[in-house]
């Protein structure tokens, strides 16, 4: 697997971009400045970053309720995302979707999704369109360990396999479906084992190692582009925050959280890049400072943007 230094620095940048964005959303939510509720991706940045780094603009993704990271990694604009999360008219969805429904079809982002397991069948549909049109694009379905147990996910994997659709199922196993640990929600340890049932490759990777994710998804994407059908990549990870902001996390103990914070996917990459002389501490700081500026611009844009007019309420129900 060849990967250039520039690509690795780009991944480092994307992961930091997600982390900074999510941290800011966390603060805004705590201050009561964001309506509704939010599910943060902090700690899982390596998965969206590594997976989307293998994709082209024309490729599609379906995302989840914990979708901000996927959107950023697929090229989402922080301004339009933050404005949407604020419920502003200038947001990706004109304030009609919010955190759980951000979409940018023009970037191949077929939506975050408020329904656990909702994305798999839709990813198949996008892949079917690629296959039918003879395009070598792929669809990536991000889904969690919770969604892994939904019937829709099994149906989607079966159909993708039966039709050899160019789909990559990227499972983000963060150990909990809200409060329910995977040890209680399934009898197996590795979700990737289910791939065997659909005669597709099933690979387990360290979801906190962006290069491992990149490598596994790259191979799956290659197969998909070449007509060899779908794959399932299970990325073991952990969410540092609760299921949603405000979750008291009574179901897990602080030592467990801390053990995963110590496996910070961003620090892991940063140390590796510094050891290899690819990324200096100065460069790293420069990247973070530039991202902070971009984020502040996004925040300012969201804050200054108007709320939607109530006249728009009934618009866009039908084409």
């Amino acid at each position: 697997m060849s990967i250039t230094n520039e690509q690795m620095i780009q991944m480092f940048t994307t992961m930091n971009k997600i982390r900074q964005f999510e941290t800011r959303v966390q603060e805004f939510f705590a201050d009561g400045r964001i309506p509704g509720f939010v599910h943060l991706y902090i700690g899982e940045e390596a998965i969206a970053t590594g997976a989307c780094a293998t994709l082209r603009k024309e490729d599609c993704i379906t995302s989840t309720h914990r979708g901000h990271g996927h959107l950023i990694a697929k090229g989402g604009d922080l301004k339009l995302m933050m404005a949407e999360i604020f419920g502003k008219k200038t947001g990706y969805c004109k304030g009609k979707g919010g955190s759980m429904h951000i979409a940018a079809v023009e970037l191949g982002i077929l939506g975050a999704n408020g329904i656990v397991g909702g994305g798999g069948p839709i990813a198949n549909g996008a892949a079917l369109a690629f296959q039918y049109r003879g395009q070598d694009n792929v669809a990536v379905c991000f889904f969690g360990d919770g969604a892994a147990n939904q019937g829709t996910t099994q149906e989607a994997m079966n159909l993708a396999s039966a039709w050899s659709l160019p789909v990559v199922f990227v499972n983000e196993n963060n150990g909990y479906g809200i409060s329910c640990p995977t040890s209680k929600s399934m009898a197996i340890t590795d979700i990737a084992d289910r791939a065997a049932a659909y005669d597709m490759p099933g690979v387990v990777v360290d979801g906190n190692d962006v290069l491992a994710v990149y490598e596994a998804v790259s191979e799956a994407v290659r197969r998909a582009r070449e007509g060899e059908g779908p794959s399932l990549i299970e990325c073991k990870t952990y969410r540092w925050r609760g299921h949603f902001e405000g979750d008291a996390c009574v179901y897990r103990d602080e030592n467990e959280v801390q053990s995963w914070v110590e496996r910070d996917p961003i620090r892991k990459l940063e140390e590796k890049l510094q050891e290899q002389g690819i990324l200096s501490p100065e460069k790293s700081r420069e990247i973070r400072d530039a991202l902070a500026k971009e984020l502040e611009a996004a925040v300012a844009f969201a804050e200054e943007s108007p709320l939607p007019s109530v006249d728009e309420l009934e618009e866009d129900v039908y084409a």
Partner: protein, 324 residues
Amino acid sequence: MATKTYLQALNEAMRQEMERDPEVFILGEDVGQFGGCFGVTQGLFETFGEARVKDTPITESAIVGAATGAAAMGMRPVCEIMFVDFIGVALDQLYNQAAKMRFMFGGKAKIPMVLRAPQGAGIGAAAQHSQSLEAWFAHVPGLKVVMPSTPYDAKGLLIAAIRDDNPVVFLEHKILYGIEGEVPDEPYTIELGKAKVQREGNDVTIVATAAMVHTALEAAEQLAADGIDAEVIDPRSLTPLDIDTIIDSVKKTHGLLIVHEAVRKGGVGGEIAAQVAEQAFDFLDAPIMRIGAPFTPVPFSPPLEKAFIPDAGAVVGAVKQMRG
């Protein structure tokens, strides 16, 4: 004009749209060589091949989701759910995904898909293969809901549904598949949201859907023999609903009876009645009446099923009751 069955009209609509637009394709259970459980897709596999007439596993969520995703990418899928009763296992993909994507995404997506499904009782298919569920779909913003009652309407409405840029739930009444009528050979569309006055009359308005249109027309003939001149209106689509045509009729006849095969409670009859009451109350000489099936699952045994489905006698009785 050629005489064709309702089923042939639907088949011809799909064939002609597939010939016109290579992005139209069909997917569903047994729609290929088998030709569909009721035969509606017969012959299409032979003409267009398996890339465009796709047999799926028995996997309704994946069918509706594949249609939704492909439609989001600009294709025009026509998916068949073998019996509308099976939509329950796929409902999320329809009402949370396909129906809402455009709105949730701020108008940036189009989902030009058709979900065809036979519904209705009358063939002894019992509780899980005989329901009329149009009220469910009509309650979901983002879906269009179409219910043809004649071969002519079946073809024109299906072509219009395929060309529509929204998810359209296209409900075929299985008891109507064999009925015949005049159907032009060339493609044509019927605008969704335009009711059809199936029989003009001055004394009472009967709004009926799907197979009940024929029941209402039969009742109208019986009423005519008693000197009551009924107007029969088929809305043809419930979303959009052509309430204006119904209200204009009520202003003329001063009476309204709504007839549908779905259970009366919570049915679309209630919605139509409410809209007419809100907009034309002063024109009514009698309370609006509704006829629908009793609030039971569809029974199996022939006498029970027959009793479940509203008949012309019930329509005649209701009109006479309304007129005191």
